[in-house]
């Protein structure tokens, strides 16, 4: 059994997927957009694909598959999920339809489909970066401006009046100018929805959505920028509220037409109910996947479960491990050059902290949101209760001292 694993060279999560594939006992071909130093030496384990061109990638994958049969394909992020859908379609490998995955990737197209299916989404409009100076008819302040395809809250800015909107659009324009992959000069404007935010991780199989976990985000996300920080599961909410959140995501998955593969979604909850902020046809980003473990002993990783489902070797979804789990995406406290990280040993020694990983090398130039898409690193904790997991994460974070000049 051979899996084509699409890993962009700048992803955080190579290790998790390779380890998962090894545990599953499948042969892996890694598809990346740049040549590996071993590409010429290894004829079946490495494949260079033009991940910016899904059709061309499908051509290349088809040629590869004529020499080495492929049983499954998987993309780890938004962009590679689209490529995987094209390859799946070309090779007859089960994957969500191309149109559904592309809609999940495009915030405006996604909103259109969700609204048409009467899923609760904020009121929205598409505006041009170059011609907008106030909110269009039907929207009132506060609004949130979002680039259509960037991830990790990059370029997502709240505006409470015309002045702030003009500044936000200028900033987004600058960001899109920097991002040589962005050719679209339109931006999604949507009503700001107050309320608590949750994330949902799950899978869809034959069109049926099954949740793995609901995450609480304990830090308020009110703008002007929306920096993710802590995810905790199980959330400290009642079963009825959790059910409402999951149902909201299931409705969104159906509305987009996703049929196979991982799902990560963001939902806001207020007195009016649950509002679907976003659905993605990919798993939770980067190293955050480590926050979820499955099985009675917790020895099954999210990557292993996800790949097992894609390969069809997992017949039923195991329960999430007992207890609470959490992760902090360590925010960047200041712009500048990262010169040092101290207190690592003290942070590690906080009870219930299970992992601390720095993902930005010393010497790297850092920016803050809305320009930056990275985190300094990740802090993980596992504990008997959600409260204890959150305490451990925050304690460890307090021990870390970042020198940024």
């Amino acid at each position: 059994m051979r899996l084509l694993l699409l890993l962009p060279t700048h992803t955080y999560n190579v290790d998790g997927y390779l380890a998962a594939a090894e545990r599953l006992g499948v042969d892996v071909t890694v598809g990346s957009e740049e040549d590996s130093t071993f590409s010429s030496a290894d004829h079946d384990g490495l494949l260079t694909l033009d991940l910016c061109d899904p059709d061309r990638s499908a051509d290349e994958a088809e040629a590869f598959a004529s020499r080495h049969a492929l049983d499954a394909v998987f993309g780890v992020d938004d962009a590679t999920a689209v490529v995987a859908a094209h390859i799946g379609s070309r090779l007859g490998i089960p994957y969500s339809p191309i149109t559904a995955v592309e809609a999940a990737r495009d915030k405006y197209r996604q909103r259109q489909l969700l609204a048409r299916a009467r899923v609760s989404v904020p009121r929205f409009a598409l505006v041009s970066l170059d011609g907008s100076s106030t909110v269009p008819h039907g929207l009132t302040y506060p609004v949130v401006a979002k680039p259509l395809t960037l991830s990790a809250s990059r370029g997502v800015i709240r505006a409470d009046n015309d002045d702030e909107l003009r500044k936000a659009l200028r900033t987004i324009g600058d960001i899109l100018d920097e991002d040589d992959r962005s050719h679209v000069r339109n931006v999604l404007l949507e009503a700001y929805v107050a309320g608590a935010e949750f994330a949902v991780e799950g899978t869809v199989h034959d069109g049926r959505f099954a949740p793995f976990a609901v995450f609480e985000k304990p830090d308020p996300l009110e703008g002007p920028y929306f920096e993710e920080s802590i995810y905790l599961t199980p959330p400290r909410i009642g079963e009825a509220e959790a059910h409402t959140i999951v149902e909201c995501v299931a409705d969104g998955v159906a509305a987009l037409g996703l049929t196979h593969g991982p799902v990560h979604a963001e939902v806001r909850v207020n007195d009016s109910g649950a509002w679907l902020i976003e659905v993605a046809a990919r798993p939770i980003g980067g190293k955050c996947a480590r926050v979820l473990r499955f099985g009675s002993t917790g020895d099954v990783s999210l990557e292993e479960l996800t790949l097992g489902l894609v390969l069809g070797t997992v017949e039923s979804i195991p329960e999430r491990e007992r207890g609470a789990s959490g992760v902090m995406m360590i925010p960047i406290p200041a712009a500048g050059v990262l010169r040092g990280v101290d207190g690592m040993e003290a942070a590690w020694s906080i009870p219930k902290v299970t992992d601390i990983t720095m993902t930005v090398p010393l010497g790297a130039r850092l920016r803050r949101l809305p320009y930056e898409s990275r985190y300094l690193g990740f802090i993980f904790a596992r504990a008997d209760s959600t409260d204890a997991a959150e305490r451990a994460i925050r304690s460890a974070h307090r021990e870390l001292i970042f020198t940024i000049e």
Binding site: A41, M344, S349, A364
Partner: protein
Amino acid sequence: MSPSSPITVTPIDDLRCKFVVNEQIAEGGVQKFTSPDQAVGVPVVAAVLEVPAVCEVVVNGNAITAVQDGSLPWSAIEPQVKYAIDAALADHAPSQLARAATDDDEIFDIIEEIFNTQVNPAVAQHGGKVELVDVQDMTVVVRMMGGCQGCGMANVTLRQGIEASLKRQLPGLKGIKDITDHASGTNPYFEAQKK
């Protein structure tokens, strides 16, 4: 057991106490262990985790921080931890840990040649280098440097490139163990950029 080596003890708080010894306990940056099973190959850690009430051990070079569950005062635990460290260091003195003169030695020489002629010329294209540290029971221990240290695709190079190549040439090989402290890499060829 040989005479005790000096151990510096520094209590941190009710749950944590730091023990510093004269020799490196483990390579690869800060690591946490929560069960003896995780501590295979690090006998000092396994021994400390056997001490009642100790539930976690953090190792950083020559420093061992023991974390306890709060059920006993440190005055009751500290002597047991020191004894465990002493005993483990004595039982696994460097002379006993040295690479045994077995088939691994011959394999080491073969792999060293492969590293010199195939592996390092390839990874040098990305400013990287892979050091062959040891061969232990047919497992190759390596340390990655330069552009490989902290590179987002280091593990792809290791598993899909180097390991696959070595296993083709040496079918009995079990695999590769990477002891690189990737967090300390300052010039990775591919840097992770997205969450």
